[in-house]
Symmetry: C2
Subunit: 237 residues, 2 copies
DNA sequence: CGGTAGCTAGTTGTTCAACAATCCGACAAG
DNA sequence: CTTGTCGGATTGTTGAACAACTAGCTACCG
């Protein structure tokens, strides 16, 4: 018990416990849901598309029951809508949805920034570097003119912002919101014009955060999101 | 088209469209999920209980597949946990979960209060009256010594607080958080001592809101939640 | 010509039965 | 006390079957 080898074994079990969740997640329905989610996020499945159980099941090589379980998961994430006795469709966002998505984002992101003032310095530095990494990734992708990747990196910037709150639940909520937002982005064809100008604004906000100007950063982000929302709503009409 | 009967028909279709969502929600899996959710929230299913597919399916009179769909829904709401090849269990909250739940609540509720300053007066009055109604319900239930109902009314108070943000998504997030919180409450046997003292504090916050003192109300709620969190964490040990 | 009722074909909702994969406890061996 | 092995029980997944429903077509009637 007090021997060195016992101590090693305790360390092993801790490490294994951390990985267990990753190894266990091999359910067929979840993998199907992962694939569908990726297809929707990438825009390979356009909003409004109907996913028939028979053809989708045959295409993916899974049974109807398994596929229905996967559908349920994505319906709960709001990526699909389920109409009783009619089928499931890739969600089509309405203008109201965009408004509410941005309202929720604004609330979460600005609160997370304000909560950052209570974070211990070492943790804060770690989270700020995650924000910087996302911006750098966006800059690199813009240089190579991969506008879809720019969008992905921008999303990761905003997720890193909410991660300042240090809450797993808030992180998951934000992840779901960003996936939902992709549905809106696919409505705008000009991805470049939509994503490119925000990289610089993101850099500015990161600078304010690095200087500890949390209030100013929150205000800047609030204004920023209002602009983005308006631009996206315009593209809807 | 312009005849009175055509107008009547238009009115009918509007009315029917409003009810359709209620009538359509007759999926067996969802009704099963509703029943299970209620049992968990009421404490009839204690945290840690395993729900075997066979016995639960026989008890509810539904097939295994339908039951599994219902399980998926509740797993996604974090009321159940699913362990691969082992089964589903009523969630057992850890201290970390309670901490994170309160962190998220604090973020959402205080932000919603701060957002209330931008709400038009007539809408604001409506939402404030919903808050008052919840407090009154709690007072009545306390008078009759129905402590479970006091807890329910208190939850509704907090949901009414977040409703100040005016966002359907925030409302849904909060509803899920409160359901999850019930799991924690069932760990404390002394429901009365836990819920009763907060009624008066709620009333005080409502008064601040009615006076337009949003900043003070947010600060009071923040402190309040910190106290409640500590009390709940103590009950966990 | 316009609209309505009924019919048909195809899809979804739900159940059932079967088999494979996995977990769990018990028991035996070192 | 740990390690292997085995058998029963539970879950994961599939396929088929039937009921319930939707949508589009047709024929009929005014």
């Amino acid at each position: 018990m007090a021997s060195p080898s016992a101590r090693d074994q305790a360390d092993w079990s801790d490490l294994l416990a951390g990985d267990r969740t990753l190894l266990d997640r091999t359910s067929t329905a979840e993998r199907v849901a992962d694939a569908l989610r990726q297809w929707i996020i990438d825009g390979r499945l356009r909003p409004g598309t109907q996913l028939s159980e028979h053809s989708a099941g045959k295409a993916l090589g899974v049974s109807r029951n398994t596929l229905r379980e996967a559908f349920r998961l994505l319906v709960h994430e709001r990526l699909l809508v389920h109409e009783f006795h009619r089928g499931v469709f890739v969600r089509v966002l309405a203008a109201d949805d965009v408004t509410d998505l941005y309202r929720t984002r604004r609330l979460l992101e600005t609160s997370a920034i304000r909560a950052a003032s209570d974070v211990p310095p070492d943790l804060l530095a770690e989270r700020l570097s995650a924000i910087d990494a996302a911006i750098t990734a966006a800059e690199d992708a813009a240089f190579e003119e991969h506008w879809l990747d720019v969008g992905t990196a921008n999303m990761r910037f905003h997720q890193a912002i909410t991660a300042l709150a240090g809450s797993p639940r808030v992180d998951e909520i934000m992840q779901q919101l960003t996936a939902e937002l992709r549905l809106a982005f696919h409505a705008t064809s000009a991805l470049r014009r939509f994503h490119e100008p925000y990289i610089e604004l993101n850099r500015g906000i990161a600078r304010l955060l690095a200087d500890g100007e949390f209030g100013a950063a929150a205000r800047a982000l609030d204004e920023y999101l209002t602009t983005a929302q308006r631009q996206l709503l315009d593209a809807f009409a």
